[in-house]
């Protein structure tokens, strides 16, 4: 199934081509990190459909995944 994935800030270089990734049904955010070879300790926040998510939830077709390092500002 296809999902949308964007990696931000220092992780931007890991974003998949066109922002779309093909994963197996039953894939989790952790599987996405593994597929894109993103070091887990550089990731602070994972959003699925705009909400903070664990790395072990089941993703659905067309889910929007955002991957962030530690970020602050204001």
């Amino acid at each position: 199934m296809k999902i949308q994935v964007t990696c931000f800030a220092t992780l931007a270089r890991y974003s998949p081509q066109g922002g779309v990734l093909e994963v197996n049904p039953g894939a989790t955010p952790q599987d996405v990190l593994d597929l894109l070879a993103i070091p887990g300790n550089e990731v602070k926040i994972v959003f699925v459909n705009g909400q903070n998510s664990g790395r072990d939830v089941l993703l659905q077709e067309n889910d929007r995944v955002g991957i962030f390092p530690a970020i602050g500002g204001g």
Partner: protein, 579 residues
């Protein structure tokens, strides 16, 4: 001995006191709010002679501890009618501290036709002089002329045409280490208060002054070393902010569905990537700007920058997330250069960028200029230079005033101060802060975005109610205390995640003054400040009915999460410390 200088702006008389009695041991926001509480009649007109403008460095300002160069500016707000503390960077605060001036109070007011004055403060004393050639000038030209007159090493606090004409959205600008007047005490219209007292600028020269010594040098040195380690080793203060500046937030707040778009109609902007921190750094690097620099000496976070135009010429600095939002997604403007020009204009006119961005949104709501038209927004702000331009006069008076002038009913303000860059429906912790802080809508007063979105200092669902009143209350207390120290508020990212951070701050204060100050005293300091502020507002006529968000947040669902604002009047009151 810490000095409190009072300058009567009508008689030009200067008096000097030490900090004693009710003011003993206070600094920053602790001192500004206490003086306002004790000396300013809560019901007075903010532009009347009874109001006072107070400037105070923090308790640790002027020391070698990292990120302690911030300044509190206080008074009764011309914009909100509440008590106000507006916090700024720049070089001014450390120079005041070097002269051992813990507070500067501007009192009374001259006749309306009196000439503007410049106050010059050095180790030799205080002088008031007329510098007629800077009257009416923007802050960039005015500060250039003041540096020529008083030397390149002075620090400058200056208002622009907006403040001179007592516009309600006006800021007070401060020069940064490179001499640009790009740091602002932006919120609450304090530039109008300074303008009402006919003071165009305060210039401070701390050369050859002997800075006050810390009481216990060894203990202070050890605590300052640990303090710097805490800031540098945290991923936000050590890496995230220095790499991308505060606009690094654009993408994550957009992803979280809480980036206010088209005057708070949507939580996402389809062109967010064009105005992101990543994009800003790309442009800065292409144009040979500077991607990271500090707003004061001793800053290790370095979230500021030098932003150049297409020709490589300096355009602006201190170009913040809040500003990029206010003129960006809020107005549907996606051209970074247009947004940078608007930031430059605000700094030069002496206007709060948040308030002015939401004001331009009111003009767009009313059809004065089209949505998304950056060039039209630039032309609109330029009218504020002319004191006789009626449209400029309306826009310079802020969001609530402009909405009234044009009959707009979608007005994102609390206590007449505009909401900043997080939609409260999808970031409920900061929404509680907007509603209940004594300042009018203000994110910095209790920045629950940390726990709601950034997962710093905890993890609280931004879309539900659970835990959001409590976190806002605790953050409002902690923030008031931080604002008394002179620390940059961004130290909070590291403090919230580091076990010994509060103890380290307590050790800095103890060893600076030779007193016993504990981590528990930090919370007590914050509570005392909030009590002064809430009681002032109560006596000025503010009730729980004023601690609310505008109706449209209750009635309209925010995409993409389809959430509304759903706190009751009484639920919100629990976020306030009891008076």
């Amino acid at each position: 001995m810490a000095r409190l200088l009072r300058i009567n702006t009508r008689t030009k008389k200067v008096t000097e006191d030490t900090l004693a009695g009710d003011y003993a041991g206070l600094g920053g926001r602790g001192l500004t709010s206490r003086i306002v509480r004790k000396e300013v009649p809560p019901t007075c007109h903010p532009l009347s002679a009874a109001n006072k403008l107070i400037v105070a460095p923090g308790l640790l300002t002027g020391t070698t501890a990292a990120n302690t160069g911030r300044l509190s500016v206080g008074g009764k707000s011309p914009l909100t009618g509440t008590i106000k503390e507006s916090n700024a960077g720049g070089t001014f605060s450390q120079k005041l501290a070097r002269l051992d001036i813990m507070g500067l109070v501007l009192e009374d007011k001259p006749d309306p036709d009196a000439a503007f004055q410049v106050i010059f403060i050095s180790k030799n004393g205080v002088q008031l002089t007329e510098v007629p050639e800077i009257s009416g000038l923007g802050t960039y030209d005015a500060s250039t002329k003041l540096f020529e007159k008083f030397g390149s090493k002075v620090g400058i606090m200056v208002i622009g045409p907006a403040g001179e004409n007592s516009r309600l959205a006006s800021s007070i600008q401060f020069t940064d280490p490179k001499g640009n007047p790009s740091r602002a005490a932006g919120r609450g219209g304090l530039g109008a208060l300074m303008g009402s007292k006919k003071i165009k600028a305060i210039v401070i020269d701390s050369q050859d002054a002997k800075a006050p010594e810390v009481a216990d040098k060894e203990a202070f040195k050890a605590a300052a070393k640990r303090w710097a380690e805490i800031l540098v080793s945290h991923p936000v203060t050590g890496q995230g902010l220095p790499s991308y500046g505060t606009s690094i937030l654009i993408n994550i707040i957009n992803e979280a569905g809480t980036l206010p778009t088209k005057n708070f109609r949507d939580g996402r902007f389809d062109k967010a990537a064009d105005i992101s921190g990543e994009k800003m750094v790309e442009l800065i690097n292409q144009r040979k700007g500077v991607a990271k620099e500090g707003c004061h000496a001793g800053c290790v976070i370095q979230c500021s920058q030098k932003y150049c135009d297409e020709n490589g010429q300096y355009l602006t600095s201190g170009f913040e997330y809040e500003t990029v939002w206010a003129f960006g997604s809020n107005l549907l403007i996606s051209n970074m250069d247009h947004i940078a020009h608007l930031d430059r204009l605000c700094d030069d006119l002496g206007l709060d960028t948040i308030e002015t961005g939401t004001t331009v949104a009111m003009a767009m709501e009313a059809g004065v200029i089209p949505w998304g038209d950056g060039l039209a927004a630039i032309d609109l702000l330029k009218r504020i230079y002319d004191p006789k331009d009626y449209l400029g006069a309306i826009i310079g008076n802020g969001t609530a005033f402009t909405a009234e002038a044009f009959g707009v009913d979608r007005v994102p303000v609390v206590k007449k101060q505009s909401l900043p860059a997080y939609d409260p429906r999808a970031a409920k912790g900061v929404g509680v802060t907007y509603a209940t802080t004594p300042m009018g809508a203000d994110h910095t007063a209790g920045y629950a975005i940390c726990q709601n979105i950034l997962k710093v200092g905890g993890d609280i669902d931004p879309l539900g109610k659970q835990g959001n009143v409590e976190v806002s209350k605790n953050l409002q207390i902690a923030t008031a205390a931080v604002d008394a120290t002179g620390f940059c508020l961004f130290v909070a990212f590291a403090v919230l995640d580091t076990d010994d951070a509060l103890d380290t701050i307590a050790k800095l204060i103890s060893s600076r003054f030779g007193i016993s100050f504990t981590a528990d005293d930090i919370g007590k300091t914050g509570i005392e400040i909030l009590k002064d502020e809430y009681s002032f507002n109560r006596d000025a006529g503010f009730t729980k009915a004023h601690d609310q968000l505008p109706d449209f947040f209750i009635q309209e669902e925010l995409p993409p999460h389809k959430v509304k604002w759903d706190f009751t009047v009484d639920e919100l009151q629990k976020a306030k410390v009891e008076i």
